[in-house]
């Protein structure tokens, strides 16, 4: 018994010591550099990011090598990170907030946690429609939300628009994930912007009518459900399709190969596009470094990496999409301000609830 007690005691002591050690180190780091608000001498940048891709980490490493600026990371869910920055107030350690949805960027702006920054490099690398109008945030990559279809059962000529999926011929054939997902919320938000609330609600209700099954799973699961014969068409993001085509699992590749991409609304409002983007935090202590990182991420080299490794569309027009992306062809994008996705987000959720889209 004594042994057990002393074991626990030793364990506890060690852990406490280790805790002091590690909390010290995390205290010291920011302490060294805080207060350098205007100086560029500080050699780090603190990033709160909601993007979890390995490719991002590689890019940060490259950034460190090139500039000598250390990138400190907290990865989390967008909304929670946002809340954390808000609660930390002016004292926050965050310099840059990065997330995978324009709606969230807009909310960050509305919540007053971002600041306007300008740089010639950014203006050159990122087209105006992928920047916030007050330059509070900048888009970094694009993803298109498209219609995927079963090559055998569906002829692309039958497909035309998102709206057409609500017609009777598609009853019981349409697959899409739950309305909890931000990509769907932004999709509906874009319709509210383009067509008004009434029509957007009609669309959502029509979709619910035509569901092949209650929404479940993620985007990849919709593709698999087509292969399984549950439905014939699915709405999903392009990069998931790219990932499936290059999956380690031969079965996933097989599923992906039985499908093809269709860019809807080419003759009307355009295909829905969303961005990943980032904004400099209002009380950033390392503002210069944050801008440098933004510039780095929108520069051709990083943009190519996003495109080839993660199957995202680059925002920098100097960079071509990857070969796979090009093979799907060019497409017309929705012509709306990205901020609209954020502005209409709450409305979209309420509409989803009203029409019973799970």
């Amino acid at each position: 018994m004594k042994k057990l007690l002393s074991f626990l005691l030793v364990l506890g002591t060690l852990l406490v010591l280790a805790a002091c050690g590690s909390s010290n180190s995390s205290e010291e780091e920011p302490a060294e550099t805080s207060g350098d608000e205007t100086e560029t001498a500080s050699n780090e940048v603190n990033l709160y990011t909601a993007r979890h891709y390995d490719v991002d980490d590689e890019l940060y490493k490259k950034f460190e090598e090139e500039t000598g600026i250390k990138v400190n990371l907290i990865k989390g869910e967008a909304d929670e990170l946002l809340e954390r920055i808000k609660r930390e107030g002016d004292a926050t350690q965050a310099d840059l907030f990065l997330t995978a949805d324009a709606g969230r960027l807009h909310r960050a702006k509305e919540d007053g946690i971002l600041q306007s920054v300008s740089s010639d490099v950014l203006d050159e690398q990122i087209p105006a429609n992928f920047q916030d109008e007050d330059q509070m945030w900048y888009g970094l990559t694009k993803r298109a939300r498209v219609i995927m279809y079963d090559k055998e059962k569906v002829d692309p000529s039958e497909l035309s628009t998102y709206e057409a999926l609500t017609e009777d011929e598609w009853a019981g054939r349409v697959l899409i994930r739950s309305s909890e997902n931000i990509y769907n919320q932004s999709l509906l938000a874009s319709f509210i912007e383009l067509n008004g609330e009434e029509e957007a609600k009609e669309w959502a209700a029509g979709m619910v009518e035509n569901f092949a099954r209650d929404p479940e799973g993620g985007d990849r699961d919709q593709a698999k459900a087509i292969a399984a014969g549950v439905g014939d068409v699915a709405i999903m993001n392009t990069y998931y399709f790219g990932q499936m085509l290059n999956s380690e699992d031969p079965e996933e590749v097989k599923v992906a190969e039985s499908l093809d991409v269709f860019f809807p609304n080419q003759d009307t409002t355009g295909t829905h596009v969303n961005v990943s983007g980032a904004g400099v935090v209002k009380s950033a202590k390392n503002q210069e470094n944050a801008i440098k990182l933004l510039e780095f991420l929108s520069a051709p080299e990083a943009q190519e990496t996003f495109a080839s490794v993660n199957y995202e569309y680059p925002v920098n027009e100097a960079v071509e999409p990857s070969e796979l992306l090009q093979s799907w062809g060019d497409f017309k994008e929705q012509d709306i301000s990205m901020s609209a996705l954020g502005e209409n987000n709450a409305k979209a959720i309420l509409l989803f609830n009203e029409v019973g889209w799970k």
Binding site: I74, V255, I349
Partner: protein
């Protein structure tokens, strides 16, 4: 009542302080309930709340029912009978606890979906194209299955320890009175293990209520969905806190029911006459049936998902550098070990307090501390950040004095995360410790004090050693839970601090379940190792 508080001392003060500190962050949530309702709240009430509440009720009640069914039946078999593989099953049946439910959910979906092992084999091996709906696990019954398979060990462990240590004579005498095994089970075993069943099942219920990973992935809308929808979707933290407060109200009701069911009766073991139950050998088909049942549950809750994870790990091996994993392992074990140690210590102090004080209401006080377990982690995170930012504000002059230039020290350090873990998982440790205190009763403490030992000496020399079983199981449960924890770790960690679970989540949330398998497998491995090591220690101590 006050006159009977014969033992007012430093322990009491300490306990009250701990309780208040654990409860304080929850207070922000409680007060949120009284803010006036807005349009979003009305909208929620009109369109979705009813269905969400029904889903949550079905989910929790069904999961509670099945975990009790499985947990108690296994505990009873192990405690009372001897059959093939019994010694192995005794500890192995705890293993499913090492798999985080959200990983279990992903894994089972991975096995059963169109490209998964089952359908692929049927399709390609046997040319069978079955309706995919048969294999669809992403629904309410599927979620109940997932929760049951990965949470039943809460009921099993607590009940099994209790039954094994229970005075054998009670059970044996029932059999001698001519009652068969079934009557014995229902008339004696069930009532006497009521406390441990309730303790285990209430952990299960709380875990189901606060979990978000499984239901989110399976597309089931529960009360938690509503909390997140109003917060993230509508940007309306007030409404979501109002919802969280309602959930808390529901949990308080559950706790009161538990207290009520527990009643005034305490089944402490009297005296030293605790001898192990004489195992009844099950021969022939009965023995195999018992072993088969145990193995079936163990396979569903552990082997099948682990084999799938191993398979995926092999497919994706090498995509993440090994040395990085080493760091994740270190970080995970460090936070889990430290918070488990702290929680056990705090739970011992509070449990001691609960045992000493008399009076209905004072006794309920420690129960307040378990509220943290019922609330979705993300909501706790907000409460904790708020509390720590305020605390840092108070401490700012101190930081100045020692020459720090920043005003956020605690709230950007690991202390923040540890505090959040303690608030969240205190219930797990406390439940175990409380059961331990219940079991030893107060006689030994009285004896010790009459022999001249003060409360502190009594605590260390008598209470703690007698409760080592409860202490160890409390430690393991918290350790494993922290290892698996997601929302708090994700949001409250300091810069550049990754653990196995944040890594697993990072991939899983991006639908890269195969890449998530490596970190998941390590979580499972470490948890399983912890279970085995502590079980061995426990067994040695018991001899």
């Amino acid at each position: 009542m006050q006159r009977r508080l014969a033992n007012f001392n430093i322990w009491t003060v300490g306990a009250v302080v701990i309780i208040l500190m654990l409860f304080l962050p929850n207070l922000t949530i409680v007060t949120g309930f009284f803010t006036p309702s807005n349009d979003n709240w009305e909208h929620m009430k009109e369109f979705v709340l009813r269905q969400f509440v029904i889903n949550s009720l079905i989910l929790t009640l069904a999961t509670a029912f099945f975990t009790i069914l499985i947990g108690l039946s296994l505990a009873w078999l192990i405690a009372q009978y001897d059959f093939p593989f019994r010694r192995f099953l005794k500890w192995a049946l705890i293993l499913p606890l090492s798999i985080p439910p959200f990983i279990g959910a992903y894994t089972y979906h991975g096995i059963l979906n169109f490209t998964g092992a089952v359908q692929t084999t049927l399709r390609e091996g046997f040319g069978m194209e079955l309706d995919p709906a048969y294999f669809d696990i992403m629904n309410l019954p599927g979620a109940i299955f997932i929760y049951t398979m990965f949470l039943y060990p809460y009921v099993y462990t607590i009940t099994q320890v209790y039954l094994s240590e229970q005075s054998a004579s009670l059970i044996e005498s029932t059999r001698l009175l001519g009652k068969g095994p079934w009557r014995t089970f229902f008339q004696v075993v069930l009532p006497i293990s009521r406390i441990s069943i309730i303790a285990g099942a209430s952990l299960v219920v709380l875990e189901v209520l606060n979990d978000y990973g499984v239901v989110k992935y399976y597309g089931i809308q529960t009360f938690t969905t509503a909390i997140f929808q109003s917060w993230f979707g509508l940007g309306d933290l007030d409404t979501s806190i109002k919802l969280a407060a309602s959930l808390m109200g529901f949990v308080i009701i559950i706790l009161l029911i538990e207290k009520l069911l527990r009643g005034r009766r305490q089944y402490s073991y009297f005296s030293t006459k605790v001898r192990p139950l004489q195992l009844i050998p099950l021969s022939g088909w009965k023995g195999f049936a018992a072993a088969g049942y145990g193995m079936l549950i163990l396979s569903l809750g552990f082997f099948i998902p682990v084999i799938q994870l191993i398979d995926w790990t092999i497919l994706t091996f090498g995509t993440i550098p090994m040395e990085e994993f080493l760091r994740y392992v270190q970080n995970s074990v460090f936070v889990a070990g430290l918070s488990a140690t702290l929680i056990v210590i705090l739970a011992l102090i509070v449990g001691n307090f609960a045992r000493m004080v008399q009076g209905k209401y004072t006794k309920l006080l420690p129960k307040l501390t378990v509220l943290g377990y019922s609330i979705p982690g993300a909501v706790i995170a907000v409460a904790v950040v708020t509390a720590f930012v305020a605390l840092d504000g108070y401490l700012a002059p101190v930081y100045m004095a020692i020459g720090l230039e920043t005003t956020l020290v605690l709230s950007v350090s690991i202390v923040l995360l540890l505090a959040a873990y303690i608030i969240r998982f205190f219930a797990i440790g406390y439940n175990s410790i409380e059961t331990g205190y219940d079991k030893i009763g107060t006689n030994f403490r009285d004896a010790s004090r009459l022999l001249g030992a003060g409360p502190t000496k009594t605590f260390f020399k008598v209470d703690v050693p007698m409760m080592k079983g409860a202490i160890i199981s409390g430690f393991i449960l918290v350790f494993i839970d922290v290892l698996k924890e997601i929302p708090l770790t994700l949001i409250l960690r300091p810069f550049n601090f990754d653990t196995l679970s944040t890594k697993a989540f990072q991939y899983a949330s991006d639908e890269k379940i195969m890449e998530a398998s490596q970190a998941s497998l390590l979580i499972v491995g470490i948890s399983a190792l912890a279970i085995v090591i502590f079980y061995k220690i426990l067994e040695k101590e018991m001899d």
